[in-house]
Amino acid sequence: MTPLLQIKQLKKKHWDVQLKSELFSDITTTIERPERIALLGKSGEGKSTLLRILAKLEPVDSGQVYFNGKLMNEVDSRTWRMNLCYVAQQATMLPGTILDNLMISSKIHNRNFDENFAKQMLIEVGLEHLDWGKRAIELSGGEKQRIALVRSLLLRPTILLLDEITASLDQQSKELVEQLLNKHHQNEKLGFIWVTHDREQAKNISERIWYMENGKLARDIMTSEFFDEQAIFQSQVKL
């Protein structure tokens, strides 16, 4: 069976060419089916850059990415992004109202706007009270982030690439977002790769961990195994 996503020998140099070192290299891994993956690692390891490369928003220096057996460079960028949709850490609201933001993917792709689906998702992320006619720019940071997530889910991608999307949310909203994405994984077969620094969150939202360290994909294992290893390591340090 063709894997859903295959990453082979991915390499990216630092944006500052004077540094002459690689941001990361030899990133090789496979996703067989829509999975929930938490991407962990210290700041500056290139986690966001990896997501942006997977979304085809940034060029790669070498290596290949395949989606459903098709090479990234051979697939039209728009088609690629409809399947692998990136959600940025800093949610950007498009000019206009909340409704304009929610309807944008249906406008772009000339599809009918699924109002009930949008309503349902807004209830699930605690934004049912919002007036859809309100200017999107006037929303709080947390509200913008949740609208951005719903906006991307309305595109119905195969894999969501989530870049620390709950960093600016309170605990309650964070849990609502986690529940929404877990539900979509279960019901809609949505896969996601979620960059987070919150280990507790990683436990809640993933079955697999990608851990980046020293410019490599140092660990690529099941979430339970990863945290078992961490627990053993920490107990050894204490001894």
Binding site: L57, R78, L94
Partner: protein, 250 residues
């Protein structure tokens, strides 16, 4: 104006130089070069125009207009450092505007089909279009940088290059037209335009001079709109790589 009277205008240059020396502005060399260049360029243009007006040759008119367009394009393209192939796009935009404007003016017999009308009017509209192109490119660069989040959000949702920059282009075109629209609103109240003033000084009837000035202002508005919109349509793809990623435009 006699040559003697003209030579007295050098007094103004001398005053400027004295101010520069007094205030240690260190502008004397630039003022001297500017004065010599302005005098030579304008005198040369005067003699060339005199020759062309007398010859009434269509070829000379076209050559002069082509020269104006090329100089304007190279000058406006300086605002788009890092963007390749922008000169011919500006040329195409200005040529389209020039054909449309002159076509309308001549076919509706608003102006006479003589070099005396065609060359000065072309010069003014091409100059105005050059400013509009420069402003459009400057703003496009600024908007692309400041709206990176907006553009990438749209790209992430599967937008085409056109869809991703539609608002950025609108804002840039609007910006490029601000001077023309502001000038149209305040003309006669804040400033007396050069062409009208020149005609009045040369002895023309002020009402006749105003009529031509109204013509010029309307032509300016339309020429900057046509040129900016055309340039925006020709340039927006240059912001992206072939993979529809934003170029690092520095």
């Amino acid at each position: 104006m006699s040559l003697l009277a003209l030579s007295f205008t050098l007094l103004f240059v001398i005053i400027t130089m004295l101010v520069s020396v007094w205030q240690k502005l260190d502008l004397e060399k630039d003022i001297a070069i500017g004065t010599i260049r302005a005098a030579i360029q304008l005198l040369a243009v005067g003699y060339i125009l005199q020759f062309v007006f007398q010859s009434e040759s269509v070829l000379f008119i076209i050559l002069i207009i082509c020269f104006m367009i090329i100089v304007a394009a190279f000058n406006a393209a300086k605002r788009a450092k890092g963007m390749t192939g922008v000169v011919w796009r500006i040329i195409l935009s200005i040529v389209t505007m020039e054909i449309l404007m002159m076509g309308l003016l001549l076919s509706l017999q608003i102006i006479e089909a003589t070099p005396q009308y065609i060359i000065p009017l072309s010069g003014m509209t091409i100059g105005n279009a050059m400013v509009a192109c420069g402003l459009f490119l400057t703003q496009l660069k600024r908007e692309t940088e400041s709206s990176k989040g907006e553009i990438e959000t749209l790209l992430s949702l599967g937008a085409t290059s056109r869809q991703a920059v539609q608002d950025v282009l609108k804002r840039s075109v609007k910006f490029s037209m601000i001077p023309t629209i502001d000038a149209m609103k305040t003309v006669g109240l804040v400033q007396l335009p050069g062409m009208m003033t020149g005609m009045i000084i040369a002895g023309a009837d002020p009402v006749e001079a105003v009529r031509y000035q109204i013509l010029i202002i309307f032509v300016f508005t339309s020429s900057s709109a046509i040129t900016s919109m055309m340039l925006s349509m020709l340039c927006y793809k240059k912001i992206f790589t072939k993979d529809l990623q934003l170029k690092d435009w520095r």
